[in-house]
Subunit: 152 residues, 2 copies
């Protein structure tokens, strides 16, 4: 009940996942990045980021290569992934309220006047997170750099 409760908040893991995906999408094609570089770029502790990267590998959004010229590389499915997909790869499905989890049938659903509001609030939020892909975000960061290059 304290003010420290984090309600409706993205986990740090999912936040770092978005950061690292955008960073990898900005790399030149087929270039790989090592864990320390990614930790520096995202501001995440290496050991924590390592678990996030494992989750992104499992989702097929990135690949990890060993040996010389090894490191993490973005995959096509990672470029086209939406922010929602990146978040859900790490945190599992987004549900604003427990009553909205599939398989978790709330016995108040039929008469609860709040239920449709939770549904609408979740749809509004997810709609925004669906509409931005990793590639979109990476392109947006590049805009200022391109402008600087053109201005020179």
């Amino acid at each position: 009940m304290g003010r420290s409760t984090s309600s409706m908040q993205l986990t740090r893991a999912a936040d770092y996942a978005v950061r690292v995906m955008v960073h990898l999408a900005k790399q030149p094609a087929a270039e790989r990045a090592l864990l320390p570089t990614l930790a520096h770029a995202t501001g995440a502790p290496e050991s924590f980021l390592s678990k996030v990267l494992q989750g992104l590998c499992r989702a097929g959004f990135i690949q990890s290569r060993r040996g010389q010229a090894g490191g993490f590389e973005i995959q096509p499915a990672g470029r086209t992934a939406s922010m929602r997909q990146v978040i859900e790869a790490i945190d599992g499905p987004i549900f604003l309220n427990v009553c909205m989890m599939s398989g978790n049938s709330c016995n108040r659903k039929n008469f609860c006047p709040a239920h449709p509001v939770w549904v609408r609030a979740q749809e509004a939020m997810i709609g925004v997170l669906n509409s931005s892909t990793v590639a979109d975000l990476a392109a947006q960061t590049l805009v200022p750099q391109a402008q600087i290059a053109r201005a020179k």
Copy 2:
């Protein structure tokens, strides 16, 4: 990182707060409800609900009276409170991501392409939660009962 992480999820306390506010708003004017009645109506454990009720009292949304005919009673500010206000009275301000907390300045804010998306996603969700008041929700629940009464 496990699938049990609850990302962007309302706390149980805030969920019960909305339930209890709607229940109290449906009571006849100046009628008071006792803790066991409210616990039964909301499906919340009494000890847990008691803390939620304290938070709602502090916010000025309900009042607790002692003695005979004592109990919890909704206040005018409670009827006009939005779902967002009820949630925030219990959980504190809603922030989809830590970088959006006031006073918590993220040093990536100026170049982070994800930041504006978090802002838009939060605004979309909060817009919905702002638009429904406790009185609105209570009125919606009453509709079926009124229809039954008319049909008799």
